[in-house]
Symmetry: C2
């Protein structure tokens, strides 16, 4: 059976097809037999595990513990918080029965009508309601606060148009749910976790993000304030990469969660929630990859270095393997994940293309001539550049090269974002500039009405009000009403 | 508000109530608002995370990768494998609709009848069917084999009688699903993973287990052979702690998964699946704990050492804290997890009881007199023994004490099991002995009929045919028919 090179559609030809090709051909994920649900394949899951491990570490360093709450939410719980139900109840999987029975025709099984639930259960689209119904029992006094809990879980939102990682009916995520004695402490928590997300995105995903606040219109259903990190993809569209919500006392009131404060008075508890999901995989792929395949930042690459031997016969392979074994050992002892691919049913050229497709940051190739010369060919995925280097001392070079690649990928994404971010001052300019993609910083009058008109006419939304925006008096580009500073617009995923 | 000591029902008085009290009062888990679904609280989840981390490491060391498959299974998939549907389709959560809408009366939400699914979706009770429908696309040639995949996930089985950790409608588990080119290789995988489970149970949970084969009657629905590890609880009941299934070609045939072998012939793929779940938490608790609370083996304890300062005023606390800080640092650098509990709203006696309840293996107490004498009080949870030791060099002592505690807990469980395991040779003796609990090794004629009669008359089941049983000719204690060796009976969870 011939082994064929896997070709990608070029991103210039069809960005959307390029993305899908890449996800499937690099063995990250694929669609399943269940509408809108994906299968995350081992290579894709290995990247997600690296994200999880780092985020989990950062959550624990900031004082959080993990816990687990039920998959199912009683239908009535969703309606307890008025805004929340508007936002989430519309698209969800509903469990109505708890038993199947053999079909009367003897073929297959059918739902047993006798096993109908008294109250339907909703597969969690997010867990505020079930968690706050639980916190009611955990919180009596200020001494029980704060509660700093996170959950790693699957959630289901019945999306009509799905795309691998970016928008799927079921996805994996973490959701932090914290309870506090004061407004200030809850607000501090919400911004702290926003900073954790931004730090993770920039230092691990090599993804520069804008930290900001959502407009009222784009706020999480049930929140008083939604903070977000927004990233720019290579096609000029923005992607919301994480959100952190200040929920005020909304859920405490909906589930009657009060505590006795230090002055011995009953008060409602203050809340936050915050989450990132497998959507980050989509952001990672779209921010850095190219027409040869994935480009992975070394800190999230399951394989950081692949070594491909070049040989004509078993004897040469053995010689290469002998020479490279101590290098592999030393790299591993330095914490580098290394794969030595000596599989004999694929040619080196096929392997080169495959590991480029999979985004392995560094490739070493070593053949008979290198053995004689004491050299090795070093290829870096981000720049697609190779050079011949002395094998002696290569381990330290690789460790610093991995750092350099991490920095370079970040810088490239940072420079790209800078190149597509600009101020616009008139709505005419906005309408023509938005066609080119990127972030447009413009004055807006702060009303939902204007925001919705802009969205309807240009498909652009307010991605956020940047936390670090400069105070700058101006006038709304649409209505001419006064504005205190620019907000960021873009078309988005 | 007075802080009260949490009292447990004694295990002698009511074992079942003791267990439930312990789970709830040690903050491990609690029942949720959703029937049969539990909330795993941070302290309980921290133990589960330790189990997960170790198991995951062992799975990876044996060549497995993690992946993720959909939560939902199309109803028709369950019926593809005839035995499987009989075993699993009866008790499951069925999703029939994908949307809610506002109730006509304006109160709450109601299921939108227009949003009925064409085919109902089942919340996975186990994932063989959805996974083998996926493997069909992954496997063409012998070069694609083996596939060694594991998934960490939640599953739902609609149990009517539930108990925290032991039997819940939703539970967390891992399920390995592997695909092989030959029967021998699949069988080798199934026994390899059984050994991994036994190794984990014995070395980390300090839980001796019997490795064995299930009788046909107790086999997993769809398996040709089910291997299991069986543990003995302190009330004399057995608990199945993990299973590993040789599935033959059943699922490959059900989902038409064939591969081209080395001789260029089409063949069905061979399969295994294997899993352990949060049920292990129940086993851990019931195997070792006592009337003072949890007894945790150090290797799974979230807090291995707690340090409680004894002081009269802030000055004394500061002196104790200064003295103990370098000890904490050194213990941590030795890989020991330490908590220094200087909270000032609880008395030392309350703290002592609380950490005993939570099963912290070692407690250090340090007061003013100790500062003068250069001593520390060391308490070990497993034996409830304390002694005064020199503080100097205490770190190395603690490291070896943790090992000793781990070994002692195992030995205690091992000795207990030995004391309740015995041969019985007549059915009369069996019927009277089974009332005392424990494992009964007896001759059985190998028929399901006899097995079911014994179960109906004594509530005992065949836990397993031990892998290491001696060949011993005998006669079935019930029918007098010939038998080749003893099998293990017990009442069980």
């Amino acid at each position: 059976m011939a082994i064929e090179l896997k070709e990608l559609t070029s991103s210039e030809e069809n960005y959307s097809q390029w993305y899908n090709d890449l996800v499937v051909k690099a063995d990250l994920a694929e669609n399943s037999a269940v509408r809108g649900c994906m299968v995350i394949k081992p290579y894709g899951y290995a990247i997600w595990e690296k994200m999880q491990a780092q985020l989990d570490k950062m959550f624990k360093e900031t004082g959080h513990s993990n816990a687990y709450f039920p998959l199912f939410i009683p239908k009535s719980y969703l309606s307890r918080e008025a805004d929340h139900v508007e936002g989430f109840a519309k698209e969800c999987a509903v469990v109505t029965h708890y038993r199947l029975k053999n079909s009367p025709d003897g073929k297959g099984v059918t739902v047993d009508p006798a096993a109908k639930l008294e109250e339907e259960l909703i597969v969690r689209p997010t867990s505020e309601t079930i968690i706050w119904s639980t916190y009611k029992n955990w919180i009596q006094s200020y001494r029980d606060l704060p509660i700093l809990v996170n959950q790693w879980a699957n959630v289901v939102r019945w999306e009509m148009r799905t795309r691998l990682f970016l928008r799927t009916a079921e996805f994996l995520w973490q959701e932090g749910h914290t309870a506090h004695a004061t407004r200030e402490e809850a607000m501090e928590e919400a911004t702290k976790m926003l900073n954790v997300y931004a730090d993770f995105a920039e230092r691990y995903m090599a993804l520069p993000v804008v930290k900001g606040i959502k407009s009222a219109n784009e706020r999480f259903a049930g929140a008083l304030e939604t903070f977000c990190i927004e990233a720019m993809m290579q096609d000029g569209k923005a992607l919301q990469a994480g959100t952190s919500h200040f929920l005020g006392q909304n859920f405490a009131k909906a589930f009657d969660v009060q505590f006795v404060n230090k002055d011995n008075k009953l008060e409602y508890v203050w809340a936050t929630s915050w989450g990132v999901s497998t959507r980050l995989m989509g952001a990672l792929i779209m921010a850095h990859s190219d027409n040869n395949g994935l480009v992975l930042p070394p800190r999230l690459a399951p394989i950081q270095v692949v070594i491909v031997p070049i040989y004509k016969n078993a004897e040469q392979l053995a010689a290469v393997a002998d020479r490279i074994r101590p290098v592999v050992d030393r790299l591993r002892s330095l914490g580098v994940s290394v794969k030595f691919d000596d599989s004999d049913n694929k040619k080196p050229g096929w392997k080169f293309a495959e590991y480029e497709l999979k985004g392995v940051p560094v490739r070493l190739a070593l053949g008979g001539r290198d053995l004689g010369n004491g050299t090795v060919e070093v290829f870096r995925r981000d720049k697609l550049e190779k050079q011949t280097m002395p094998l002696e001392g290569i381990e330290q070079y690789i460790v610093s090269l991995l750092d350099e690649i991490q920095d370079n990928i970040y810088k490239k994404a940072f420079d790209f974002r800078a190149s597509v971010t600009r101020n616009v001052d008139s709505y005419d300019e906005f309408r023509s500039e938005i066609e080119k993609g990127g972030f447009l910083a413009a004055h807006w009058d702060g009303t939902t009405e204007t925001e919705e008109r802009i969205k309807a006419e240009t498909k652009a939304t307010i991605r956020c009000i940047p936390l670090d925006r400069k105070a700058e008096k101006g006038v709304c580009m649409v209505t001419g009403r006064p504005s205190e500073g620019r907000v960021l617009f873009a078309r988005s995923y």
